[in-house]
Symmetry: C2
């Protein structure tokens, strides 16, 4: 009986911890979204696409870009169209495949992304400042264990 109570308490604690993870994620995302909007008229999906492109010099196919979006049903075409209009990315034909395009950052896109990434890092540093070096390490380890377990189960 005592053990049942303890198990049930732990389960309630895990539910509360999950709701808190969810709340932190939403609050930080809302804050970052608002700051990006007012600083550069930038959205999180467009920033995520630029971040993905910044890591690969040869660009990415549209089909690979959809995987980097936070929202699974995000409209990649619309996002890339807007970035093209703003001169931040461009579509390049893939040699030997007339139907395929690669999307690459333009030099202007690279400059803006580097600036945004540096400021974004400072914002995250500020928003997470209540957690010190030791706390970050245990947080990363614990969340890493959850991720590993989920990847094992789903792999």
């Amino acid at each position: 009986m005592d053990q049942d109570v303890a198990v049930s308490d732990l389960s309630k604690d895990r539910l509360r911890a999950w709701l808190r993870i969810l709340k932190v994620t939403r609050m930080i995302e809302a804050e970052l979204r608002e700051r990006m909007r007012t600083s550069w008229d930038m959205t999180l999906p467009r920033f995520d696409v630029m971040a993905a492109l910044s890591r690969v010099s040869e660009g990415m196919k549209m089909s690979d870009l959809s995987g980097v979006l936070r929202v699974s049903n995000g409209n990649v075409t619309g996002i890339v169209d807007r970035l093209v209009t703003d001169g931040l990315v461009e579509r390049r034909a893939v040699e030997g495949d007339r139907r395929a395009n690669r999307v690459v950052l333009t030099p202007e896109g690279r400059v803006l992304f580097d600036e945004m990434a540096a400021v974004h890092e400072r914002w995250v540093d500020e928003l997470l400042s209540p957690i010190g070096a030791q706390g970050l390490e245990t947080l990363r380890t614990r969340l890493g264990r959850i991720i590993d377990r989920l990847e094992e189960t789903n792999g």
Copy 2:
């Protein structure tokens, strides 16, 4: 110089911690979404609306319900319509205000929600099982500090 390096490392650690929080949130949400879909043909927005309604016996106005959704531009009307069709909630006129409606759980909705909530708690318990009682406590405290600070800043 040494201090600059240390500060910069901490900032990178916070960015990595944030990306990990984001990843855990997305993975757990995806897992819960998939399990809800296969178990009850239920979506997270509909579950969230039912959860909000389960906490208030007198129901909620449509305008208050939009605040409980994870996605800010979520279509509350569509979600409630579907729940009405499934017989899980109903719209009740508000006495003295002909244009206002309150949305309340039906008895069937209450029974299903109680079942789903219990199973949902078990799933979260399982997904977060790599974290023990002590880890949950420090996780909640640390995330709580971030939330408090954000609420202070924005309040």
